[in-house]
Symmetry: C2
């Protein structure tokens, strides 16, 4: 048994009146969550949804999406949470890729859902989640969820290895890829991260990141395994977080370092009682030493854990545990690493031919484990490529040190080869961003007759700041090898183009550079 | 990927020169363990061992048996570690039940192995593990393991859901039952117990219990997932343990409360440096308060964790974590419970019809989870009975309190029904054993015309002690309900009959009582 709804059943049996989740001041108990999920699943079965089928969701974070992390699995189907930031064309592309039968939308996205459903043949049912005027043929999620659940044949729930959630990724590589995560995958992530995160039973977790991503979405499964109470934010807002933590006694919160700065700088910070909050987990970027110092002074009870991973790994591969978040003692100096390989995961550094590299050498990070997806839905070519030889090839480059700590240096695809030397843009970007005049920086490779590629920095200056290209290059030369330093600097007054998940869009940037459009 | 040898590969890749295991002063590195396992697996393949086949082991604890926890799985087969305490007839019965192809024995059990192999048709190869004179046709384990490994087709290793180990159980219920544990089962136990046990990476573990049991055997899989160094004792000996802990810097040891007393009472205790030992895990019986007090005074650095489970659960169901091993504060008073349900497990208390009972009510402990076996090999009837409705029926009775702590009260089959009331022998035994004259006690139900069954105590007195039956009955009446108190007391000078796993053999005892043979 790894079927995740069994853990909803467990929580609802042992602690029926304990809170399962809270969203916009509305709280539910585990008994209510069980009942709502069962009722919705029975309706899906009535609608003909079954083994291998999909139910898509379009909307902000909500209790509906939390419930949908489980509901389709009760009839052997899976949920597809859509990124609401996608354009209509992108949504249609994703939905045409996976052919869901049902599309569920919140009030803010219902019009988009209708427009999209009209273009995707497989969608036969549109449901509204929340209060809104429905059109003929559309169903109300709440009407169904609040009705008495009809008994459902337990054998419909399928097997541990069936897909429970399909999460689309794609980032900067073009065509979206639907990552098939099974019960076994998400369970091993939930179980394998308990110890390194230092999670405890029956605590209260705050989820502020988007539930259409594995980073926050995986926490739904962690919460159910722990019997935790999840407080869901529609979208991250520092003032709202300062209100929610004392209101619900939040013990664990997900964050990224930038959010932490927003919290500390918020006018309500000094008057907020954050004493219940004991743990913050973060990812995406290392926590700067100055920020850690500030947190240690202003929120001394907080411990940190940093995770590194991606959707294909359900998502965690490594965790930098709490004891390494320190500025002194034998554990100091590890904060620029993403920590050690989790017990359930294996991870290697590989060269282009797939051979594992020794300690200290930079190469592609590859991983395997019970948390690693079996592949991309309906995409055997990309699956065969990314999962070749039984290892998921992350596309990230990094190295392991002698103590087993992983350091991530950048994206393989962003790597610049200049005069035969490998240059990782992130290293150059980190150095340039230290210059006081720089607001934003991205480093790309541009065609060069002599060197193959040349390192080019694209920078946005801070308001009223002034610096020459030569000064920036000299700033870099004082800190890193010459071959890594920019040969040219482009100044732009526009913000750098971002992908839907807020990473600099290097493809768009290289294109704009080539077209002289910066 | 949940295939356990992949974690040997992981440890051998990342820490090739770190110690994997030590046995009788001989230490191996992870690279050596990998090489030995691969070489043996290649030989098994050559011998025709493949998917679904079995390799049996007969012998004391050793590095051979540690290796065999992985080796057959490399060709899709499984290991059967035999209980060396069984009689020849019992061994033949077990082996005829599972039909292994290969039997591997240590020097102390080689003659028995030859005798048994002659009677079990399926066994075509006998191997000697260790130094001994071999007969024609017999193979030397070490000669094979020390040879260079031939490459083995990785697809032979089979799937995550294949059986990796077959552990025989039977205890007091007659015909032995082979519990099929899959990679998924043993992995979820290893992963799910990391947090409640408080295990850390790369420590040194001492295994002193028999590796033919799930209790100690499961620690082989915990160790490989943690990259731990396992120090294996051939059999438990307190003086040897006092020597091994400082010699190898043991951090974690398995024990039972009786062993702990033997350690504290040992003449070498005062001079032994046990400072590396930070955690002791135990099972089988609660730790008495007086013993905990003594340990807290004499070994203040030690923390405890108690586990409850059985082979069918790979084996852990609940853990009483370190913070509840205290005599004061809000966590005091939990030491007679076996702790809370692990995150990966669900557990209920059921009545005879299988209905879950409310908090506080006594019934049969039933459990499900990814750690729960799919059943007994070649025994669909017993599998259907014990695993009915998707839940493993443990045969143990107990109750859950309002905080979710499990209290075990005895074996369902040992339960006495006297005048319509349920009496659990263990409760009566615990009370009688408090009497200063009693050395051993067992409580059984005996036929009674009026009450159906009557409670009968069988006691062995301490040397030179003297007490009447009436005094024992009054001692019990002062402490527990009258209907639970013995109606008769049998005095015997023989020690009580034990099962091969050192529990009082109630079947033999009832028989001896009926025959007047006590």
């Amino acid at each position: 048994m790894n079927r995740m709804f069994d853990y909803v059943e467990k929580a609802a049996f042992h602690r029926p009146d304990a809170p399962s989740l809270t969203f916009l001041e509305e709280s539910f108990t585990w008994a209510q969550t069980r009942s709502r999920c069962r009722a919705m699943a029975a309706k899906l079965h009535e609608l003909g949804v079954g083994s291998g089928d999909l139910v898509a969701h379009l909307g902000f974070n909500s209790h509906y999406l939390f419930e949908l992390y489980f509901i389709p699995s009760l009839v052997g189907a899976a949920c597809v949470p859509l990124n609401y930031r996608l354009s209509k064309a992108e949504m249609v592309e994703v939905l045409a890729d996976c052919d869901p039968m049902v599309l569920i939308a919140d009030a803010a996205h219902m019009d988009m859902a209708r427009a999209v459903a009209a273009q995707v043949e497989s969608i036969t049912v549109v449901m509204g989640a929340g209060e809104m005027a429905l059109r003929p043929g559309e169903l109300s999620y709440d009407d169904i969820a609040n009705s008495a659940a009809k008994p459902l044949d337990p054998t419909l729930a399928g097997q541990d290895d069936d897909t429970i959630i399909l999460l689309y990724t794609g980032g900067t590589t073009g065509h979206p890829k639907g990552v098939e995560l099974s019960h076994n995958n998400v369970m091993s992530n939930a179980l394998g991260t308990l110890a390194p995160y230092g999670f405890k039973e029956n605590e209260t977790h705050l989820v502020s990141g988007p539930l259409f991503h594995a980073g926050s979405g995986s926490r739904v499964y962690s919460a159910v395994v722990l019997g935790a109470h999840t407080v869901i934010m529609q979208r991250f807002d520092p003032g709202e977080m300062l209100r929610l933590v004392p209101a619900y006694g939040v013990n664990v919160a997900q964050t990224v370092p930038t959010m932490l700065v927003m919290i500390l700088d918020h006018p309500d910070f000094a008057d907020s009682d954050l004493s219940s909050l004991r743990m913050m987990t973060y990812g995406a970027a290392p926590i700067p030493e100055a920020l850690l110092s500030r947190v240690m002074k202003e929120m001394p009870q907080i411990r940190f854990a940093q995770a590194f991973g991606m959707t294909e790994a359900s998502p965690v591969l490594t965790v930098l545990t709490a004891e390494y978040h320190t500025l002194e003692g034998p554990f100091a100096g590890k904060m620029t690493s993403v920590g050690r390989i989790c017990a359930h995961v294996d991870l290697r550094i590989a060269d282009a031919a797939g051979n594992a590299l020794p300690t200290g050498e930079v190469g592609e990070i590859i991983a395997r484990g019970p948390n690693v997806a079996r592949g991309y839905r309906g995409n055997p070519e990309q699956t065969a490529l990314s999962f070749r030889g039984g290892w998921y090839h992350t596309g990230d480059s990094g190295y392991l040190n002698a103590d087993g700590f992983l350091y991530v240096v950048g994206r393989i695809k962003d790597m610049i080869i200049s005069g035969g030397e490998n240059v990782y843009p992130i290293e150059v970007e980190n150095v340039i961003s230290l210059h006081p005049a720089i607001a934003e920086v991205a480093v790309i490779g541009v065609p060069d007759d002599k060197w193959g590629e040349a390192v080019q920095a694209v920078v946005v200056l801070k308001p009223a700041a002034n610096v020459s290209a030569q000064e920036i290059i000299e700033h870099a030369r004082a800190r890193i090898a010459h071959y890594k330093c920019p040969r040219g600097v482009t100044f732009t007054i526009k913000s750098l183009p971002l992908t839907p998940i807020n990473k600099v869009d290097k493809i768009a940037l290289r294109k704009a550079y080539a077209e002289g459009a910066l």
